[in-house]
Amino acid sequence: MKLYCLSGHPTLPCNVLKFKSTTIMLDCGLDTTAALYFLPLPLVHSPRLSKLPGWVSKDGAVNLEKKELLDLSTIDVILISNYHCMMALPYITEHTGFTGTVYATEPTLQIGRLLMEELVTFMERVPKAQAATCWKNKEIQRLLPGPLKDAVDVWSWRKCYSVQEVNSALSKVQLVGYSQKELFGAVQVTPLSSGYSLGSSNWIIQSHYEKVSYVSGSSLLTTHPQPMEQSSLKNSDVLILTGLTQIPTANPDGMLGEFCSNLAMTIRAGGNVLVPCYSSGVIYDLLECLYQFMDSANLGSTPFYFISPVANSSLEFSQIFAEWLCQNKQSKVYLPEPPFPHAELIQTNKLKHYPSIHGDFSSEFRQPCVVFTGHPSLRFGDVVHFMELWGKSSLNTIIFTEPDFSYLDALAPYQPLAMKCVYCPIDTRLNFHQVSKLLKDIQPLHVVCPEPYTQPPPAQPHRSDLMLELQPPPMAYRRCSVLGLPFRRRYERIHLLPELARSLVPSEIKAGVSVATVSAVLQSKDNKHVLQPVPKPAPVPPSKKRKRVTEEPPEVLNPKPLLSGAVPLEPFLAMLHKNGITEVKVEETADGHILHLQTEDVLIQLEEDATHIICDNNEPLRTALRDLVLRFLQKL
């Protein structure tokens, strides 16, 4: 069993598990941090941005975590754990010869589609006349300015995919529900609720005697999705652990409080608040929290704007996936009441959503306000416009809630910036404390995790509480590692055909345990093993056709009886005595005893799993002694 690690990013994993001749890809996250090397793509021409020194900006760049470690066409199945971890799907399934199946839950598919479409829209609505690739040449790259010359693996940076590719990739998705057991070849895969986002799942990959759990992006906090299912993860041989919180020092509750107080402070002072965020996920919880907070803070009249090409679908989808929500929200559906309070915000006109800043938005826009828009990297999407619009006033505030990008790097092209910046990363994924409790509970034999989890964060080397400390220590992987997973396969399930079973003669060797010998032919196909009766030797055909050697059945011999039990020393000596052998010297050895029959000059070695009678050329005596030994043993 091997694990190929195509991504070293702990929260955007992409691993391939080879297990029982099945090649399973676990997630395909897309690391877009390389976008930070590029200038923002403004929707409206920005004289300031265009004057910035730099190379000719190129269309959106993405970093695909993949190397020639593995032939993507050999992948049989891809398991997706949440919509953030599937953004690279078109790169895997398109133009690679991929013929397998992708498993995902319905919300993961639908919201993943929204996020992909959003990304594509962001890119395509500001098309670039040209694309440059020559600069990726090492010789040229070395001459480039700034951090660009130090960027690694620029050859793996790719152009953004198209809508057609997205549609084609998503057409390969097969939907599954939580705890639905899906057989794929010799293994069974089961998604379990992971509590992180709508439809997010952990996966169990198991055969009859082995169980691998894949935990990715799980949360134990009470937010909108269904809570995490933990008990099914018990008794795993190997647990692959990815997607822990990216900001272990920031507690989501505290950050939410920080978010609200900074927002209230800005609005009270007459400023606007900009929240760069993804169009699904934490935004639902933020809106819910603000729904309660704004009234209590006397800011009930402040409008919220949610601007994204998929804003409407995102808000509506969240309301229809009732079965994937937490119990509290599910029960609202029967009232009937929309599960999320943002429906009420929309009804009362407090929350308005627009596909883009163009159109209705510009006429209905009223300040001071709160704007939620993408992309969190500040390199593309409508957020670029608001940065240009509001950046100059110190009354305004930008609040970063997504932990995926370094906020200082994201802000770099907008400097000097007068607006206040607040960093409140809200990451509801498991923290180290929760993980160690979880692992104590589910007790996996081995844990595999990305390398960064095995040491304290580089910025805080003294925080030894922010790492995984396990016994045995976890196996760490980094990008391009290939790990041999440390478990021996000891058993295999084999089916007996009924006619063979009928021929067995079990004999009870101790209470409740019966044993039978079987002679059969083992047939293995598709990782399934069947014992078939030995075909009877066909009567020699009268014709003189030449027999094919391959069809010759194996010769059937009557099996010798199998012996079991142990030869007890004292009764055996007594037995020997009874049979006239009196002079016996007993010597104790590490494995048992050696009996020296001095008169006969015979040695009998009694060991735990073997008995030897050594006597020179005295066959009658040997047979007699053998029979004496056999009296103490059971025959099968």
């Binding site: 920031a250 505290g254 609200c260 803070a297 925080r463």
Partner: protein
């Protein structure tokens, strides 16, 4: 009423004594007993038993019956003791043989009733009730009841055991007090002066204590120690010194043996003993040991709290109790052996936290008494506390090699709260102001941290107020307040948790009070925009927060009085006054309305006249007086009191004219008060449904009357008529009638 009750007594006794009747529950018996006690205390030597022979019959029948209910028997024993507390009562009961019948041990053992804990407790309580004169003590000694009491000291019921202890102490006390005060029985106060049969009693009890202390049985030792500490703390000489002499050796043995579960009790004993005595010092020394035992930390924490304690022991205990703190936050300089025990304790979460809390709270205790540290500088101690607080918020590693205590401490609210309390307490040491940068730094970190718990923030504010008050002379303080503190406070006033908003506002109020008169601070308060944030907090959704906001705004206005009346100040006053009047008339909750009236009162009390308030005073009095909340009414009356004082003693708004007679001045003042509606308020409040309000209004009216009466050559009736248009009595009566009709 008592005579009515007494006439019922025979019937009650019959019911109680009847075993066939279901016994009433305990509480009614207790109430009956209370009534007897009251009757007994009022009897002035009259003996209840003589008038009520039914009681004798009752006692006799209950004590001789074999089918009595335990609750009734217990009640009877207590009652018998109570009745025997007077000499005559005792005599009557003894004559009838009832005392012996009730308390003699054989009598009690007759049936299985003794097995019931309530009977045993009643028996002890009866004896305790009886023990008011020597005859009762003689009775106890003569009948060998001391032995039973000593046995009961080991009773399985905690109540019985503790009552037995009390009785023993009471007996010992009685022995000494009667021998010293009653000359007819004994002369002098030495041991030999005790009556010979009483000497045997006292030695019997004391021997029992010594025996218990020497026992191997842990619970018995514990009981012995408890009795010992009771005797030492409650008994006088010569019993104290006699007992102390006897227990010294077993105590030493116990301390040497060193058992953690005894530490607390042993310390109580040592505390009760005269701590300045030489042997006590040695015992304390032995208990503290060399700081290398688990129990020595608990012991040191207790020693530090002792009021009277030998200086040497206190220093040693201080050294020991500071060890955990130093170990976690600095490199300790002590030997390795101490380390090992500490190491082990600090590596476990529970013991690590409890040790550090002990260490911190002891330090706070020492700071509270301004203890002078000698072996170690207060600087380094304070730095340790600051370091520990940093560690608790995950900023610093723990320094002790091999042990990473910080894992247990990061985010630990208990240690954070305790550490902040201690840090606040350490502000009493002047030397520490050198560390103010570090201290304010860590306090600011806590205020900024999004993860700080509401209670931790509250403690941070408390510590900050103390330090700001101490550091107010330093110019860098204002810089800190306006650049670092105010932005954080502004954010905290928008916090999700109302508790945080509330404590932030309270803090601002305290800060303004502490820096009252500091013009730089007042300036910063206005320029930083804090004032407008305070004003907007007046509209908070939580009533408590609005109340705190009112207080804070009130204080901010008071602070601005100290400076020249600028336009800014008057606009603040105007805004504040408008909003506070709205709060007083419209707020749905009582707290903000109370706060408004209190703020007005404090404005009025101040030395600077608040002219803007003048015009609103009559509406304040009428709104406050008609409020639904009685506390608002009380505060309004307090406001009225201040107004009366201000108006009557000197009238700043009336041009003082030498020609004005006293009478004219008073008349004018009274008519001003009438214009404010003060009399309406007082008369209305006099008939209020809440008693405190009526009392306060009445007191104020009485003061007014006294004042007018005292003023010389005053035509009383003319003045009164002039002011109110009616006589007071008539006024009150007419209002009362109006109210009745309504």
């Amino acid at each position: 009423m008592d005579s009515d009750c007494l006439s019922l007594l025979p019937a009650v006794c019959l019911v109680l004594a009847d075993p066939k009747q279901a016994p009433p529950d305990d509480t009614s018996l207790e109430k009956l007993l209370d009534w007897f006690k009251e009757l007994h205390s009022q009897s002035n030597g009259q003996v209840l038993l003589q008038d009520q022979p039914c009681l004798l019959e009752f006692i006799s029948s209950v004590c001789t019956s074999e089918t009595t209910d335990p609750a009734i028997l217990s009640f009877t024993l207590k009652l018998t003791g109570l009745l025997a507390a007077t000499k005559q009562g005792f005599h009557l009961l003894e004559e009838g043989g009832l005392l012996l019948c009730a308390f003699e041990r054989e009598a009690c053992y007759v049936c299985d009733l003794w097995e019931d804990a309530s009977v045993r407790s009643g028996w002890l309580q009866g004896l305790l009730n009886m023990l008011k004169h020597q005859k009762s003590l003689d009775f106890i000694c003569r009948n060998g009841l001391i032995k039973v009491v000593l046995q009961l000291q080991n009773d399985r019921s905690l109540f019985v055991a503790s009552l037995a202890n009390q009785l023993l102490v009471h007996i010992l006390n009685f022995l000494t007090s009667s021998s010293t005060t009653n000359g007819s029985d004994a002369v002098g106060s030495s041991v030999s002066s005790l009556r010979s049969d009483w000497v045997s009693v006292s030695s019997e009890i004391m021997n029992a204590v010594v025996e218990a202390l020497s026992s191997e049985d842990h619970p018995q030792v514990l009981r012995g120690l408890r009795l010992l500490s009771l005797v030492l703390s409650q008994c006088g000489e010569p019993i104290r010194s006699m007992l102390w002499k006897d227990v010294l050796v077993p105590l030493e043995v116990l301390i040497k043996r060193g058992s953690e579960s005894l530490t607390q009790t042993l310390m109580t004993v040592l505390q009760a003993a005269d701590t300045s005595a030489r042997p006590v010092e040695e015992l304390l020394e032995a208990m503290l040991g060399d700081g290398n035992r688990k129990e020595c930390f608990q012991c040191a924490a207790l020693v530090v709290k002792l009021e009277k304690c030998p200086e040497v022991s206190k220093r040693k205990a201080t050294g020991i109790i500071l060890l955990p703190l130093q170990c976690v936050s600095t490199q300790p300089q002590t030997e390795i052996e101490t380390y090992l025990v500490l190491n082990e304790q600090l590596s476990q979460k529970a013991s690590c936290i409890s040790l550090l809390m002990q260490s911190l709270s002891s330090l706070a205790e020492l700071a509270h008494r301004k203890f002078l540290f000698e072996d170690i500088s207060i600087h380094s101690i304070t730095s340790s506390v600051v370091w520990l607080l940093r560690m608790c918020s995950g900023q610093c590693p723990s320094s002790l090699l091999r042990i990473n205590a910080s894992i247990h401490l990061i985010g630990c609210c208990k240690v954070q709260r305790c550490g902040l309390d201690t840090l606040g307490a350490l502000s009493v040491y002047e030397e520490n102001v050198d560390l103010r940068k570090d201290i304010f730094g860590v306090l600011l970190d806590y205020l900024q941290s999004p993860d700080s718990h509401a209670t931790v923030l509250k403690k941070t504010f408390q510590a900050a107020v103390r330090w700001i008050a101490v550091c107010s002379p330093f110019p860098d303080l204002l810089q800190f307040i306006s650049h670092d503190l105010f932005p954080v406070l502004e954010k905290r006033m928008c916090d999700l948790r109302w508790e945080v908003r509330d404590s932030t506002l309270e803090f601002i109020t305290q800060l303004t009070t502490a820096l009252n008169g500091n013009s730089g601070f007042t300036e910063a308060l206005h320029t930083s925009g804090m004032v407008s944030v305070l004003l907007s907090s007046l509209a908070d959704t939580e009533g408590y927060v609005r109340a705190s906001a009112v207080a804070a705004v009130g204080e901010a206005v008071t602070a601005s009085f100290h400076h020249a009346a600028t336009e800014r100040n008057s606009s603040l006053l105007e805004k504040a006054l408008t909003q506070m009047m709205i709060a007083l008339s419209q707020d749905t909750e009582g707290f903000p309305r109370r706060a408004v009236v209190k703020a007005f009162t404090s404005w009025l009390k101040g030395s600077h006249p608040v002219t803007a308030l003048e015009s609103s005073l009559s509406s304040v009095l009428s709104l406050g007086g008609n409020d639904f909340d009685w506390e608002v009414k009380m505060h309004t009356l307090e406001l009225a009191e201040v107004l009366m004082e201000k108006t009557l003693t000197c009238c700043p708004y009336i041009v003082q004219n030498v020609d004005f007679s006293e009478k004219t001045r008073l008349t004018q003042a009274l008519s001003r008060l009438k214009d404010y509606g003060l009399f309406d308020l007082l008369f209305n409040s006099l008939l209020d449904c809440d008693r405190p309000v009526c009392e306060k209004a009445c007191a104020l009216l009485v003061r007014l009357r006294t004042l007018t009466a005292e003023t010389a050559d005053l035509d009383h009736s003319a003045l009164v008529l002039n002011v109110c248009g009616n006589r007071w009595g008539d006024e009150v009566q007419s209002r009362y009638l109006n109210k009745q009709q309504a």
